[in-house]
C-alpha cells in the first residue's frame, strides 16, 4: 500500500469487519502520518464509516491490527481511542446547544475553584484554544447561534484541546456555502501545520484534491488505491471510486411550457426570506443558489405549509394555495423535499418500503396495510431509484446516507408532482448516486413538472438549472439564464461579489 515510513502515528493492517455475514471491510491497510491530511474517498457504503468507527473504537475489527504510535492496540474502545488522541467530528455536530462556545470547548473540564466555575478562566482558556487554530468566534455566544461551519470549528477546537492528535473529519463541508467551506479548509491546513494527522472524508472531488496530501480510495470494503494526492486527477479519482466512468453532464431537456407551474410572489418571513419572487414554468428547473440553511430551509418550511410567512402569495398551476397548511400544499400538487432528511424526511424506525410508500399510500387513502403487497408495490421503485439493500427490508435508519436520500426522493417524486421544491437533493450522497439523482430531476422536469431547486452547489446548478436566482442573507441578489453565465461568475455572485 503506502510507502512504509517510520513516523506513522497510526497504522492499520489487514483489518476486516463484517456485520451479520456482510463484509464491510476486507483487509484494509492505512497509514496516518502527523502533519498530513489523509483523505478517505469512496461511495456510500464503501466502508469509510466502518473504517473510521474501527479506528475510533466504536467497532472492534474481526481481524487485523491497529497500531497507535507503534503499539498494537487490542480491543480498542471509544474511551481508549480518546486517550490515545484519536478524535472524530461526526457529520452531525455534537455541541450542547444551550451552552456557550467557551463551555463547549471546555466541556467536562471546566476550571473550578472550590467547586465553583471560574468563568473568567473558562472564557480565556477557550479563547486561547480557538486562537491557536486561528478561529475567530466570540466565546460567549451560545452554541445554538452558530452556523454549521462555526459549530464544526468549535468541535475541532474542543478535540484538539483535549489532546486529539488524530482527527477524523466526516464531511465537514457538506451543506456549506463556498465561503464557509473555504474557512473549514483553512482550518484543516492549520491543523496539519500543527502536526495533527487529519483523516478527511468528503464527497467533493475538487475539494479533496485541493486539501489532501494523500488519498486512499475504498470500494466495497477494500482499498482500491492509496497514493499521494498529486498522483490523482479528478477523472482517475472518480474511476477508482466507482469502478467506471461517471458522467453527469448537462442534458438537453424539452423546452419548458408556457404555463407557470409554480409562482411565488413577494414572499417575506422575518429576516430569513425577504421579498422572494420566482415563477417556474412547467418543465423548467429554476435554481435558488445560496448558502445552505440561509433562505433554503425556510423556503421549505413556507412552501410545505409548516410555517406561515409574514406576507406573500403562492400559486401552483395557476391556483392560489394558502400558506400555513400542509394539507393545502399537498393537495395543490406541490411536493417539497427537505434537505434535512433526519428531522423532516424519513421515519427511521419504519422500514424502507413503508417510508417509500408513506406519502403515496396516504394520498391514495388506503385503509389497510399488508406487508407483502407493500413490498410488491415498492419493488419497482427500489429498482428505478436504485435503492440497494442487502438485508431485505430494514428500518430506513439503518441505511447509508445516500440510500436514505434516494428513498426520500423516491417517496416524493413518484407522486407525480405538478410542482416540486427540492432542498439540496444530493446532500451527502456519493458521486454515482449524485449522477443518478441529477438524471431523476432531468426526468422530472421533462415530464412537465415545475422544479424549484434550492442548492448550495454551483456545479449542481450549472448541471441542472435553466435559470438561477442567487440569494444571500434572505435577499435575491441576482437572476440569470443559465446560458448567460459561467460557473466562475456564478460562484463570484454567490460569494457576494458582482460577476466580472
Amino acid at each position: 500500500m503506502t510507502t512504509p515510513r517510520t513516523d506513522a502515528v497510526l497504522r492499520v493492517r489487514g483489518v476486516t469487519k463484517s456485520f451479520g455475514g456482510a463484509a464491510a471491510l476486507k483487509g484494509v491497510d492505512l497509514d496516518l502520518h502527523p502533519g498530513e491530511v489523509h483523505a478517505l474517498m469512496g461511495m456510500n457504503g464503501a466502508g469509510k464509516s466502518t473504517l473510521v468507527q474501527v479506528l475510533s473504537g466504536v467497532h472492534q475489527a474481526d481481524a487485523g491490527t491497529v497500531e497507535v504510535n507503534g503499539q498494537a492496540q487490542h480491543g480498542l474502545t471509544v474511551h481508549k481511542a480518546r486517550r490515545l488522541g484519536i478524535a472524530s467530528v461526526p457529520q452531525r455536530r455534537e455541541l450542547a446547544m444551550g451552552l456557550t462556545v467557551a463551555e463547549n470547548v471546555l466541556l467536562g473540564d471546566l476550571p473550578t475553584r472550590g467547586g465553583a466555575v471560574r468563568w473568567k478562566a473558562v472564557n480565556s482558556e477557550a479563547g486561547k484554544a480557538l486562537e491557536a487554530l486561528g478561529i475567530d468566534i466570540d466565546v460567549t455566544r451560545t452554541a445554538g447561534s452558530l452556523t454549521v461551519a462555526e459549530q464544526t470549528m468549535v468541535e475541532v477546537a474542543r478535540e484538539v484541546r483535549r489532546g486529539g492528535r488524530i482527527l477524523v473529519l466526516d464531511e465537514p463541508t457538506a451543506c456549506l456555502s463556498s465561503e464557509a467551506a473555504h474557512q473549514i479548509r483553512e482550518l484543516v491546513r492549520t491543523l496539519r501545520d500543527e502536526g495533527v494527522a487529519v483523516v478527511y472524508i468528503s464527497h467533493y472531488i475538487d475539494e479533496v484534491l485541493a486539501v489532501a496530501d494523500r488519498i486512499t480510495v475504498l470500494r466495497d470494503g477494500a482499498v482500491v488505491r492509496s497514493a499521494p494526492a498529486d498522483e490523482f486527477d479528478a477523472a482517475a479519482l472518480v474511476r477508482s471510486m466507482v469502478g467506471r466512468d461517471v458522467v453527469s453532464q448537462r442534458v438537453q431537456r424539452p423546452a419548458p411550457k408556457v404555463e407557470i407551474g409554480l409562482a411565488v410572489h413577494g414572499l417575506t418571513d422575518g429576516r430569513a426570506v425577504r421579498d422572494f419572487t420566482v415563477e417556474v414554468r412547467k418543465g423548467e428547473i429554476v435554481a435558488v443558489l445560496g448558502p445552505a440553511g440561509d433562505a433554503q430551509s425556510r423556503l421549505f418550511d413556507l412552501l410545505s405549509g409548516r410555517r406561515r410567512p409574514d406576507t406573500g402569495r403562492l400559486a401552483v398551476d395557476g391556483t392560489p394555495v394558502p400558506f400555513g397548511r400542509v394539507h393545502a400544499s399537498l393537495a395543490s400538487g406541490l411536493r417539497c423535499v427537505t434537505g434535512d432528511r433526519r428531522a423532516l424526511g424519513l421515519v427511521p424506525e419504519l422500514s424502507l418500503d413503508e417510508n417509500l410508500m408513506l406519502a403515496r399510500d396516504r394520498f391514495a387513502r388506503r385503509r389497510t396495510h399488508r406487508r407483502a403487497q407493500l413490498a410488491r408495490r415498492a419493488a419497482p421503485l427500489r429498482r428505478s431509484y436504485g435503492v440497494v439493500s442487502l438485508a431485505g427490508n430494514p428500518p430506513v435508519g439503518a441505511l447509508s446516507g445516500g440510500n436514505q436520500q434516494k428513498v426520500l426522493l423516491a417517496k416524493w417524486l413518484q407522486t407525480e408532482p405538478v410542482a416540486c421544491f427540492l432542498e439540496d437533493p444530493t446532500n451527502g450522497v456519493d458521486i454515482a448516486a449524485m449522477a443518478d439523482i441529477h438524471a431523476l430531476l432531468d426526468d422530472l422536469a421533462s415530464r412537465g413538472a415545475a422544479v424549484l431547486l434550492a442548492s448550495s452547489s454551483a456545479e449542481e446548478v450549472m448541471r441542472l438549472a435553466d435559470r438561477v436566482v442567487v440569494v444571500s442573507a434572505g435577499r435575491t441578489v441576482a437572476e440569470h439564464d443559465i446560458d448567460t453565465i459561467t460557473h466562475d461568475e456564478l460562484v463570484a455572485t454567490a460569494l457576494g461579489g458582482q460577476p466580472q
Partner: protein, 337 residues
Amino acid sequence: MSVKTLPDAPGVSDPPEKARPRFSPTTLRRAPHTGLIAVLIVVVVATSLRTDSFATDTNVINILRQVSVVAVIAAGLTLLMTAGGMDFSMGSNVSVTTAVGAQLLAHGHSTAFTVVASLVLATLIGLVNGVVVTFTNVAPFVATLATATLLDGVALLVLNSVSVSTGTKMFALGNNKILGVPYLLVVAILVLVATALVMRFTVFGRDAFAIGGNEHVARLSGINVTARKLSLYALTGALSGLAGLMLLSRLSGSSPGTGGLSLQLQAVAAVVIGGTALAGGYGTVIGTALGVVLLGVVANALNLLQVSSNYQSVSVGGVLLIAAIANEMHKARSARH
C-alpha cells in the same frame, strides 16, 4: 506505492449498519421478548416447585381473569404510546366509569343504558385529554396527570365517598364463563387481538408508528396528525370505559379507590416491560400481553407463597426495573452490532 485493482462491482452495496439476525446463540438473545419469556418461565417454574396450588387450572384461569382489566387498558396504552402519546388518566377514568355505572345501576337504570352512558362518558374524557394535548402543546404526561388527579376527585364525588353495590345487576360479564373461560378473559383477548391487528394491518395503526417515529414527517407526508391523535386519545378513553365496566361487574359495585393510579401504574408497567418505547415509534401488543401476564403471575406467586403485601409492592417495582434495564441493554446491543 502499489495499486491493487479490483474487478468492477456491478453496483454499490450497502453494508447493514445495524445488526442482522445471525444463526448463533446471540440470535436468540436479540429476538424480541426472549428476556421477558425467560423471566416468566423462571417465575412459573420456581413457584410451581415451591407450591402445589400454583400450576392448577383454577389458579391459572384466576390469574388471567385478574389481569384482564389491566390488559384492556394496557392494549390501548400500547397503541397510544407507540404514537408518542401518553395517557396517565386511564386508571382514574376507570374510577369515574365504575362510580357512574354503579350509581346508574343503583338508581334503577337499565344495564344497556348504563353500558352506553359509561362508554360515552369515558370516550369523552379521553377526547378531552386529546384536545388538551393536541391543541395546547402541553406535554401529554403533565396534561393527563392533571386530569388523572381531577378524575380521582370526581369519582369520589360521584360515590359520595361510600361504596355503592350493584347487587346482581350486570353480574355475568365479571363472573360467568364460557367453556370454562371467564367472559373477562375473552373480552381482554379480543381487545388485545384487535389492537394487534390494527397496529399491523391498518393504515390507522401504521400512522401511529409514523407519528411516534417522527411527527413532522408524518404531517408532511399527508397524515392528518391532529385527527389521528384525537382518535387515539378517544380510543384509550373508550377502552378505559370498557375496563371500568369489567371491573364494576367483577366487584359487583364500586367503592372509593377502585381503579385509580395503582391500576394505571400496572398498565404503564406492563407496556414498558413489553418493550414499547416511551418516546414512541415502537411497540408491540405481544410484549404488552407478556408484561401483563408477568405482573399477574408475580403478584399471584407472592400471594401463594404468603409473602407480606409490603414485599409484593417491592417485588413488582423490582420486576419493572429489571425489565426496563433489560430492554435498554437489548436496544444498546442491537445498535452496537
